[in-house]
Symmetry: C2
Subunit: 169 residues, 2 copies
Amino acid sequence: MATRTHKHTDTHAFPKPGHNHDRCTADALKKAAAVCAQRKTRLTDIRREVLELVWKSHVPVGAYDILSQLNSGGGRTAPMAVYRALEFLLENGLVHRLASLNAFIGCAHIGKDHHAAQFLICRVCETAAELDSAPLTRALTQAVAERGFTIDSQIVEISGFCPHCSPPT
Amino acid sequence: MATRTHKHTDTHAFPKPGHNHDRCTADALKKAAAVCAQRKTRLTDIRREVLELVWKSHVPVGAYDILSQLNSGGGRTAPMAVYRALEFLLENGLVHRLASLNAFIGCAHIGKDHHAAQFLICRVCETAAELDSAPLTRALTQAVAERGFTIDSQIVEISGFCPHCSPPT
DNA sequence: TTGTATATGTTATAACATAACATTATACCA
DNA sequence: TGGTATAATGTTATGTTATAACATATACAA
């Protein structure tokens, strides 16, 4: 029988409304720096600023939202700069793009090359969380293989109601 | 033991390069008319034209592509008309929207309220096909339920190589 | 320090989508 | 049949997301 040693069951918990979010951000930035150091890519000022803005919350954020936050102090950054930073962050597995929202969110599992990109998105609080279910991935892999198809990349985005928000009555 | 009576195993086959596509189109249009009659919604000229254009192939098509095809004969249709037609077709389950491509494709299973919206998309020939895997749906439902999440809608879009196109060597 | 690769700045435009209001067509009932 | 409500379409304008192309600047290694 396989060993089952989990420190806690919180690994995939949906972000709680009152959690200490500063920790999420600090942790993400630390790991991001480590990943970039290891991969010998450069986490420049603008890239880090964009990453910080993406990590302001667990709500996916649009490129132009990031842009206006960057420019809120009178800056003159252009859209290209933001898209380039996002492209870098995507390539390095530091953020994800949600196709259903045209928005970006910080990767919650930096380093563990999951690359699953399976998301739960709450319609009420707009929070998005990575699902990363191994059984789901297995079912998907099998279903796709049965069709004679070879996976290159996948998008799984589930919209609904998170554990902290009730469906409208 | 459950009965297993399938006319053929082709139900979920990936569209073959040389298949008789006129049949796909004719079939889709016939079913579309039936659905609209049953639901007492109106398949007007522009709606049917857009549906026909969507069914020109199994490659998802953008709204502005549809628009330029509509106007290729000197017409002056505006984007709104196309988007409104697409909205109608979506509401009536006659087409799907692929979020990863910002494009639309005819629904291959009109009537059978699947609403799964699981797609395979070939990177080479650009053909998209509905996956609609029950095991996948089950795994997904379960994984989501385990997180205390309630599904409202789902997007599953798998990009890769179809059975008729080889991965680049 | 100088060359090369990488990153950023800048301008313009492409691509996708909707808001708001006017007009026309259709259905349905009195 | 004619009036009226509803649905559909026309029209204009604009919002939103994303990329192309070329110029300049910065970092790093030889």
